[in-house]
């Protein structure tokens, strides 16, 4: 009875009914197993609610595969952050768990320190030009992915121009195989680029936070975040483009009228194209669309989220609202200059309180360094998780359509039920069957049966609440992302240990990070699945696993946000600070303990959420 409660070991997990067979959905190296038991049990595995809050569709795993390699290698083999190593992943009943790998032996730490010093300081010194070349390189990669041609069908007969005057030599079968390989190759490469500087930006942030706390021991986390965050952030461009388009529309009554009407976006576009002024506005719309409306409607990690190019009701919904507000005389844009000025003034006020000239100089130095490189954290997100992923989803959908056309699978999105190593099986089966001629069966029945089985498994997994953590909590963590992005701290680990015994109905108070200042009371709206975001109403207190910068327009509606996971620099925190919305992140249990309709008091200054009244 008086045993100390710890976390379960990975192989002790008991899976609920309906999950049988889940293991085959994911590649073998993603399983906990006896052959790695000793190493695995020494580590601390926590459910990654930021990148994988929901049950994982096999094909969506590719992003996670790509970042496991990329994030880790920059820490261990490229920029060599001395005591840190990579972040490993495992699947547990369709949910992804991660761990910061234990530190390397001391002699390796020493070797890394030398390389780290040389390489990292170089990046800091040359960041501005390095960013320009990174963006150029990344945009080129995305364009390459955009240019991949996926045939809409497998032709009955190859056309003349592929035979005369000189036969091309490879035909649709090869095109399809090669297109898929190219697509996957570019995705893996894109993620190699993604982490190029990200580890360093987080390290810089941690260093800055440390510096602030040495000078001002009582400084709040949210203040540190405010000092670092920039106003001119590419992630907010999509919303700025909406404002621009809304203003253009509001100036032309005919266009405004169409945008304000209640017809579908497709009908609105049709109607606008009928007039000269409408057409002109559509030209502007197309200008904004690429790349800015390639923003995901969610995090960019899941195929079912959609983007502002596929779910037109999202941008058109926002546009309607903005036009109405402009007509009422309201200002819809965020005053970026004012936000930036406020940040600069905040920094100056603290700077004035520094006692010695030496400290002031150190502070200036550190502040400059972090402000320079932190832009990467804020800017890369749009290009990778949004623009690049949206292009990926477009291409994959084309493969999905081709599978359906050829009778391999029933639904366009069924391709996501197979992981990226399995999709080539289906492709080869499909093109082989085509090559073999008329009246030849493929194994479509087999693939479709597997797809159906996996749908059921995922449904069962969605109903299951996985435990927050497994294994042995660490003594220390050196890996910067673990600390900052996932917010793994001593308190968090303790809370999870305690939370194993928490009865949701008995909780009266939640504690998390004070991510954005302000105190408000209001009614809760719990949003666990992405589609529920449209249910959010004016004045709601948003409670979700983690929020999303792509939900930016929602932030003018809500009174506060409370999340399960995320440290001070997770996007929930950043966005809330930008919008002046109080926020408490990293509570661990908000979505399991709070219910829509509950009345709560959110204190973004202390990180405490009090339940005032149950719905």
């Amino acid at each position: 009875m008086a045993q100390k409660k710890g976390f379960q070991m990975p192989l002790e997990v008991e899976y609920p009914k309906g999950l049988e067979g889940w293991e085959e959905m994911y590649p073998p190296m993603y399983m906990f197993s006896k052959d790695r038991k000793e190493w695995e049990e020494k580590h601390f595995w926590f459910h990654d609610k930021i990148h994988a809050p929901e049950a994982m569709y096999p094909l969506d795993l590719i992003f996670q595969e790509a970042w496991q390699i990329s994030l880790s290698q920059y820490t261990t083999r490229v920029f060599c952050i001395p005591p840190a190593q990579g972040i490993a992943q495992r699947m547990v009943g369709c949910y992804m768990y991660i761990t910061p790998v234990a530190p390397p032996p001391p002699e390796i730490i020493g070797e890394k320190a030398g390389l780290f010093q040389k390489r990292v300081f170089y990046v800091f010194d040359h960041y501005d030009e390095l960013w320009v070349s990174w963006l150029k390189k990344f945009k080129a990669l995305g364009e390459e992915m955009n240019n991949i041609k996926v045939p809409a069908e497998l032709p009955k007969f190859e056309s003349d121009d592929l035979v005369f005057p000189d036969p091309r030599g490879y035909y649709t079968s090869y095109e399809v195989i090669e297109a898929w390989d190219r697509l996957v190759d570019l995705m893996i490469k894109g993620w190699q680029y993604h982490f190029q500087y990200l580890n360093l930006t987080y390290l810089a942030y941690l260093m800055f936070a440390d510096t602030c706390r040495k000078l001002f021991p009582g400084i709040s986390e949210s203040t540190i975040g405010k000092l670092v965050a920039g106003a001119y952030v590419q992630m907010f461009r999509p919303e700025e483009e909406l404002c621009r388009l809304a203003r253009l529309a509001a100036a032309v009554p005919g266009v405004a009228k169409v945008l304000k009407s209640d017809i579908s976006p497709d009908k609105k576009i049709e109607s606008l194209r009928k007039t000269a002024e409408g057409s002109n506005w559509m030209v502007e719309y197309e200008k904004s669309k690429d790349p800015w409306f390639y923003v995901s409607c969610g995090s960019g990690w899941f195929h079912y989220e959609g983007s502002w190019t596929t779910k037109l009701e999202i941008p058109f919904g926002y546009l309607k609202g903005y036009v109405e507000r402009i007509e009422k005389g309201e200002k819809i844009e965020r005053d970026l200059a004012a936000i930036d000025k406020a940040r600069a003034e905040l920094a100056e006020e603290y700077r004035k309180l520094i006692k010695t000239d030496e400290d002031r100089k150190s502070f200036d130095d550190v502040y400059k360094a972090v402000r320079t490189i932190y832009k990467y954290a804020e800017d890369h997100l749009f290009w990778v998780e949004h623009w690049f992923h949206t292009i990926w989803f477009e291409r994959v959908r084309e493969f999905g359509r081709l599978f359906v056309k050829c009778g391999m699978l029933k639904g366009i999105d069924d391709i996501y039920l197979f992981n990226r190593f399995e999709v080539p099986y289906l492709i080869e089966d499909m093109v082989t069957t085509w090559a073999l001629g008329e009246g030849v069966p493929s194994r479509s029945q087999y693939w479709q049966a597997r797809a159906e089985k996996r749908k059921k498994i995922l449904d069962a997994a969605k109903k299951w609440s996985p435990v927050p953590a497994l294994g042995t909590p660490p003594e220390e963590i050196a890996e910067p992302f673990t600390i900052m992005l996932w917010g793994i701290t001593t308190e968090k680990v303790q809370d999870w240990l305690k939370g194993m015994a928490v009865v949701p109905g008995e909780v009266t108070e939640l504690k998390g990070f004070a991510s954005s200042a302000g105190v408000v009371e209001g009614k809760v709206r719990v949003v666990k699945l992405l589609e529920d975001i449209t249910k959010v109403e004016q004045g709601d207190i948003l409670v979700c696993p983690t929020t999303n910068p792509a939900w930016a327009p929602i932030f003018t509606k809500i009174k506060a946000s409370v999340t399960d996971i995320g440290g001070l620099t997770c996007h929930a925190a950043i966005v809330c600070r930008e919008y002046g919305v109080p926020s408490v992140t990293g509570t661990g249990i908000a979505t399991s303990v709070l219910k829509t309709g509950d009345t709560v008091k959110v204190d973004g200054n202390t990180g405490i959420v009090k339940i005032l009244k149950r719905a």
Binding site: L206, L215, F216, I354
Partner: protein
């Protein structure tokens, strides 16, 4: 040509240039007034009065003689000497015209407030007392709720004699501080009829954080907080963001003026107020604002006594009663906290560090 020093000086007439005349505490009040900080009005009975007092009737010689016979090892001899000296002083009279001047000032003060027997605080202000580097504070007397001419004069002499409490005598003897070099001035100040009062620091005394104002307060007069006999509320205000961290305590006792008993006394706090915050948010912010201003004026961290008047409306109810340099963190050598490190050195430090997480 002799330059005649005044026997009394109104607070607003004497700042740090007059420490020798009015003592550290009173000079600091003068400075606060100059910095536009609301301070309850009053006047100093100067060191000139003290010197005059000592020179009358051979008192100085008598005191020196008694002091010379003290055996520091013998507590009884110390206590006896103190008793004799203090009695000597309280039984003597000040020069008639000095007594008249003091009374005249007191009456003036009373008229300003239209309260005939205006309650005042009579406080010692030694010339060595509140100077940075010395913590003589608290070794001399303070009398609260003094009313009427006779009481004022009595307490003024009592305060002067507090230079010769056993503790004060032995402290000076141990520290090697010559008795005749310590002069004393006495402040007579309108007392704030306090709804709440306390102290505040222009840094966080727990960790030296210079970006915070830490306010401690209790119901009633500030005595309970200054003397440390109660558990005060604690409010930590960030100087830049104005965020307030509130730690409201269980306040079990307070120091109030009891008109029936005619004196200041410690009573139990009524139950309904024990867990209520003794100051409102707007008062907290106003106090912090003043604290910042005082620190900026003096150019160094301050330890400030404040009081909130019962009757007056906000913001006129806020007063600073005293301010002195903070003695603990400011004493530490001004080493750079960051150790003169550049961004790169700090980055290396951070990159090599680990965060302790385990239970």
């Amino acid at each position: 040509m002799g330059f005649i020093m005044p026997y009394t000086l109104w607070f607003d007439k004497a700042g740090k240039e007059a420490i020798g005349l009015v003592g550290g505490k009173n000079a600091s009040l003068g400075e606060l007034i100059r910095a536009d900080i609301p301070v309850p009005p009053g006047f100093s009975v100067t060191t000139e009065t003290y010197l005059e007092f000592l020179s009358g009737g051979g008192m100085k010689e008598k005191i020196e003689e008694i002091l010379s016979r003290i055996d520091l090892q013998d507590v009884a001899s110390l206590e006896n000497a103190s008793k004799v000296i203090r009695q000597l002083m309280t039984e003597a009279s000040l020069l008639k015209r000095i007594e008249e001047e003091i009374s005249f000032n007191y009456q003036t003060l009373a008229q300003v407030f239209d309260v005939p027997n205006l309650p005042v605080a009579v406080r010692s202000s030694a010339t060595a007392e509140d100077l940075p580097g010395a913590s003589f504070a608290g070794q001399q007397d303070t009398y609260l709720w003094v009313q009427g001419n006779d009481q004022v004069l009595e307490k003024v002499k009592l305060c002067m004699s507090s230079l010769f409490t056993p503790r004060a005598i032995s402290y000076r003897m141990k520290m090697g501080f010559p008795h005749e070099k310590v002069l004393i001035s006495v402040g007579v100040q309108k007392i704030v009829d306090a709804r709440a009062a306390g102290v505040m620091f222009t840094l966080n005394p727990t960790n030296g954080d210079p970006s915070k104002v830490v306010i401690e307060g209790n119901w009633g007069l500030g005595e309970t907080v200054v003397s440390g006999i109660c558990n005060p509320d604690k409010y930590v205000v960030d100087k830049v963001t104005k965020e307030i961290e509130r730690m409201v305590s269980l306040k079990e006792c307070e120091c109030i003026y009891d008109p029936i008993r005619g004196g200041v006394m410690h009573v139990d706090t009524p139950p309904e107020r024990r867990e209520l915050p003794c100051v409102e948010d707007q008062e907290i912010l106003e106090l912090a604002r003043y604290a910042k201003r005082v620190e900026e004026y003096y150019g160094c961290p301050q330890d400030i006594e404040w009081a909130i008047d019962k009757q007056k409306p906000f913001p006129l109810n806020i007063f600073m009663v005293q301010s002195r340099p903070e003695t603990i963190w400011s004493q530490q050598k001004k080493e750079p906290v960051l150790g003169k490190k550049s961004a790169y050195e700090l980055l290396m430090e951070k990159a090599l560090s680990r965060v302790k997480v385990g239970p």
